[in-house]
């Protein structure tokens, strides 16, 4: 192998043209080893083939490993593909193809061990192949199945690598390999220490493989690299099972064993002197078994005391597979550093997640914050406006197939559709129910039920896709721990945009001024020449329109169903109420609190989002106890009541 490596370096230095010769003579020299290869004998042949440095070597080795090399009766090797009785042969050097009868040829079938050796030899060539994709696949195959033999060729291939990214990858991989397989412990420790800043899953896997342990049990602690010793009493039954498996103790009878033993020893309807119908009592079962054991009919019961005594007599430990303690210690220390880095990264990742959840809540709730918060109108059909927006996006995509263009059309169209729906609803229903909030709640419930069923009738019950354009697909990968999909970033940006827009409209435009005036004192506002009816209509339309846009955004990352609105409505109301009614900043604070809270609970109890939602709602109910007016409470007259 060394010589092969040396030859490789030579090849690279002098260029392939210097060795213009044919492969067949080399093969013939080693014909015996190639025709009947074994793991011990094939290395010489492989070395010789490798030393030749010929461009056709890679192809030959690949075909050999794939069992596609055939030998003619006179000993000449060909690359061949059998089809029926014929075989199409390719000359190993010239590449010319001929067809011949199969009977004169014999297929070479190297066994698994040999094929692995061929593969390793092949990797050396693939690593320096002029074709970038071949080099990449070689590196990927090493990463998949790292082996000690790959270390040297990999190291040798780093220097001549021209592709920057692949070179970095090779260096990283070489580091992983040396950490595990380098000959000199000093090299290994150096490589291990260099991993301390690498939070990738691969690096952690390397460290964990170095630290792999085997559990064992013995009379006394062996003289080896001991990872840990255990107190057997922590899980006495498991520990005893380990003892049994190691043949240090007789097996403990299970309930089923005892039952079977009792059943096989029924004599004239009695077991050990007890009647069958007494066997409902577990203590009598035990006594009967003891009686049977005393008669020598069954093995003696391993009692708790016997078990504990046996456990006390032995040491339970875990041994590192790696015998060198210095290396395992170094890996241990580095792993600890890496894990604390990973934990930090996870917190960052969680924060990103929470941020994106908060922006979704914010988007869903901001329209509600306007209608409920500013106007004091409860709109239980708000969720259905979100759904309408999402379905608008879906319908647009049916007609416009370019996803970017369809998104550009869908956003304003969704606004227009839901704005119109909001205005119609305000004129027909809400207007008649001002100052009767409970009634508004009920009437909008009715609308919500009707709209939901209408959507079901039109679009069916199954989820409809709302596909995002390619530039929104994928994720922004910071490292193996921190990553966030572009959709979520887009939703975050959209949420920020809307926050700015709403604040701008309310604080800087004529409409906003009039809205605030009507909110604070409708009578006074109308005597100043503001038409409260028109303002209410516009405000309601604005809130509904924003729900439509939120619908498109939510539809991009979640499914579009007729029930998607009801998934968000309670959370949206919570967001508005927690944040403080009548204040856009409050809604932001509410969304942040609920988003972060929910992610935080999910982190404490992973794999259970339902529980997180449950506890979050409970938390909100309790929170209202302490701040009934929400996080950002209005003060003074505007607070009303």
């Amino acid at each position: 192998m060394r010589s092969a490596l040396f030859a490789l370096i030579l090849v690279i230095c002098s260029g392939p043209m210097a060795f213009a010769q044919t492969l067949q003579p080399i093969l013939q020299t080693h014909a015996k080893e190639i025709a009947k290869p074994s793991r011990s004998s094939v290395s010489d042949a492989l070395d010789a083939i490798a030393v030749s440095g010929l461009p056709q070597v890679t192809g030959f080795l690949e075909q050999w490993a794939n069992k596609n090399v055939w030998q003619r009766n006179d000993g000449v090797f060909f690359i061949g593909m059998a089809s029926g009785d014929d075989i199409s042969l390719t000359d190993v050097d010239t590449g010319t193809t001929t067809i011949a009868s199969k009977s004169d040829y014999k297929q070479l079938k190297p066994n698994g061990g040999v094929r692995r050796l061929i593969g390793t030899a092949l990797v050396q060539f693939q690593l320096i192949d002029p074709d970038l994709s071949r080099r990449e696949s070689a590196v990927a195959s090493i990463a998949r199945r790292p082996e000690a033999a790959q270390l040297a060729p990999l190291l040798a291939s780093i220097e001549p690598e021209v592709d920057g990214a692949l070179k970095a990858r090779k260096i990283q991989l070489a580091n992983f390999l040396s950490a595990r397989f380098a000959d000199d412990p000093k090299d290994r420790i150096a490589a291990i220490n260099s991993l301390s800043s690498d939070t990738s899953v691969e690096a952690r896997a390397v460290l964990n493989q170095i630290l792999s342990t085997k559990a064992g049990v013995a009379k006394s602690l062996p003289d080896a690299n001991v990872a840990a010793t255990f107190d057997p009493m922590g899980t006495p039954d498991m520990s005893y099972l380990a003892l049994v498996n190691a043949d240090f103790a007789p097996a403990k009878q299970t309930q089923a064993d005892i039952k079977a033993a009792l059943e096989t020893n029924i004599v004239e309807g009695r077991i050990g002197g007890f009647a069958l119908n007494q066997m409902t009592d577990p203590t009598i079962r035990e006594t009967a078994y003891a009686a049977l054991a005393a008669d020598g009919l069954v093995p003696r019961l391993i009692t708790k005391g016997a078990r504990d005594a046996a456990l006390e007599d032995h040491v339970f430990f875990a041994l590192y597979d790696e015998p060198n303690a210095d290396i395992t210690n170094a890996a241990q220390t580095v792993l600890k550093t890496v894990e604390s880095r990973v934990a930090t990264a996870q917190i960052a990742d969680l924060t990103l997640d929470a941020l994106s959840l908060a922006s979704i809540f914010f988007l869903a709730a901001i329209g509600l914050a306007i209608t409920f918060g500013v106007m004091g109108v409860i709109n239980m059909a708000h969720g259905e406006f979100i759904m309408m927006g999402a379905y608008t996006g879906y319908v647009v995509q049916l007609f416009v197939t370019n996803y970017t263009v369809s998104l550009m059309i869908a956003l304003p169209l969704a606004f227009a559709v839901t704005f119109a729906a909001g205005v119609v609803m305000e004129r027909l229903v809400i207007r008649r129910l001002y100052h009767r909030p409970l009634e508004t709640l009920l009437a909008t419930f009715g609308i919500s039920i009707a709209l939901q069923q209408l959507a079901k009738n039109v679009f069916g019950t199954q989820a409809r896709p709302l596909t995002s354009p390619d530039w929104l697909a994928g994720a922004w990968v910071f490292n193996d721990v921190i990553q966030i999909s572009f959709i979520r970033i887009a939703i975050f940006v959209l949420a920020l945009l809307f926050l700015g827009l709403i604040i701008y409209i309310l604080k800087r435009t004529r409409l906003g001024l009039e809205v605030r005036a009507v909110t604070q004192n409708p009578g006074m506002a109308s005597s100043m020449g503001i038409n409260p009816d028109r303002i209410n209509m516009m405000t309601f339309g604005l809130g509904s329109g924003i729900a439509g846009i939120a619908g498109v955004a939510i539809g991009l990352y979640a499914k579009v169903t007729s029930e998607m609105g009801s998934d968000y409505i309670v959370q949206s109301f919570m967001t508005v109420v927690v944040g403080g009614v009548g204040n856009v900043w409050g809604t932001l604070a509410g969304a942040a609190m609920i988003g972060f809270g929910q992610k935080g609970i999910e982190w404490l109890n992973p794999s259970n989002t339902l529980a997180a939602q449950t506890y979050m709602i409970l938390f909100v109910i309790l929170f209202i106890q302490f701040r009934p007016k929400g996080i950002v409470a209005l003060k003074g007259r505007a607070a009303g009541d």
């Binding site: 039952k259 066997m279 079962r285 009920l442 009715g446 009707a450 069923q453 909100v620 009934p628």
Partner: protein, 390 residues
């Protein structure tokens, strides 16, 4: 006293008379006791409807009389159903397990029986351990207590928290809806120990009554439901008449004024909220053995919204209105969605009522809220006025 009570509330006599006549009529027409003109499945539907009427009058008291639009009473109804369902399922499974273990050579120990029951019940959620909340499931008495106490306690704690911090109006509605959502999400989890979204099933089989036919059982449950509705009606009429009734109606109309008059408003509201929750639990405990199955979808927030819809359509603020609303709307729902209503062919489009019923219901509800705030019950006022005029 009773005389004057009846005299003050003539509707009670009419209602009880109507209910008794209805019960007798249905019994005569039923399969078990008479002419079999009413199928057992329809008898069950009628029995279930009576339970829905019971929870509707509870809703009417808390909303129509006391002004608390609770969107959580159907959750209490569901809890009642779960409470009785746990005993039904445990005891029924125990019967099955004991019978199947009888053929074993060794008679089973209590432990073996429990484990076998556990793996029967919780096999669907991949467990065989009994969760803590099943601790009393072996005892009918304790589970019957739970039917009343668990909803009552939950309502007491939630109501105390909410009323104490003076959460009123729409805020309270939203908060109760959040509570309902939290509950249904909680019941949906497998960890809860209530079989997740599988719910409890086989509740129509009453342990120990294997030799009684379903037809007879249904009739018994129908009678029980009718009795419960009658008693609940009496209880609530008694509660809402007299001074106590005046106070809670006053709270509905102007809470602040009642508080200034020196009444402890929160106690009244809490009492009403808790008692109605208990009655809802009882109604649920009678409903689900007739339905045969309960799952967390039953207590989803939308169910409580439908409850409010029934009461609003029937006419809130009068108990018989709630009964009419619940009966009419729920029977119509099952008629329309069950394919009973004929499709309407418009030439270009066929209106299939299975699909369009909810649209109709929703719009009717909007119309009722806008134009007939008194609901169907309001028609009786018109009749009464006409009667006086002529």
């Amino acid at each position: 006293m009773n005389n004057s009570f009846i005299a003050k509330n003539p509707s009670v006599l009419w209602f009880l008379l109507g209910l008794s006549l209805f019960t007798v009529l249905v019994s005569i027409l039923s399969e078990a006791a008479g002419t079999a003109l009413i199928s057992t499945s329809f008898l069950k539907t009628l029995g279930k409807t009576l339970c829905l009427c019971l929870v509707a009058i509870a809703m009417d008291v808390v909303w129509g009389y006391c002004g608390i639009l609770s969107l959580g009473h159907f959750a209490f109804f569901g809890i009642g159903g779960y409470a009785i369902g746990m005993w039904l399922m445990y005891d029924r499974t125990k019967d099955i397990v004991v019978t199947s273990l009888e053929n074993n050579i060794l008679p089973p120990t209590p432990d073996e029986i429990t484990t076998a029951i556990g793996s029967q019940i919780f096999g669907v959620v991949g467990s065989s351990e009994f969760p803590v909340i099943w601790a009393f499931s072996h005892s009918l008495t304790l589970q019957l207590l739970a039917v009343v106490l668990v909803p009552g306690l939950l309502a007491l704690v939630f109501g105390w928290l909410a009323f104490r911090s003076r959460v009123t109006g729409v805020y309270l509605s939203i908060l109760t809806q959040a509570m309902t959502l939290a509950l249904s999400l909680y019941f949906f989890q497998n960890d809860t120990g209530l079989r997740g979204n599988n719910g409890l099933s086989g509740l129509q089989n009453i342990p120990g009554l294997d030799d009684v036919s379903q037809a007879t059982l249904s009739l018994w449950f129908f009678w029980a439901s009718a009795f419960a509705l009658g008693s609940g009606y009496l209880l609530f009429v008694w509660m809402t008449s007299g001074k106590f009734g005046s106070v809670i109606r006053a709270i509905r109309d102007n809470e602040a004024r009642v508080r200034f008059l020196g009444y402890h408003v929160e106690s009244y509201k809490l009492f009403i909220f808790t008692v109605t929750a208990m009655v809802a639990g009882v109604a649920g405990a009678l409903y689900y053995p007739q339905a045969g199955i309960i799952n967390p979808a039953e207590i989803a927030p939308i169910a409580s919204i439908y409850l409010a819809v029934w009461v609003a359509i029937g006419g809130r603020g009068r108990l018989y209105g709630a009964v009419i609303g619940a009966a009419v709307v729920s029977l119509m729902s099952s008629w329309f969605t069950g394919g009973g209503a004929p499709d309407i062919n418009l030439g270009i489009y066929v209106i299939n009522w299975t699909d369009w019923w909810l649209v109709l219901l929703g719009l009717t509800f909007v119309a009722v809220t806008l134009f007939f705030p008194k609901g169907i019950g309001g028609l009786f006022d018109l009749l009464a006025r006409k009667g006086k005029q002529s």
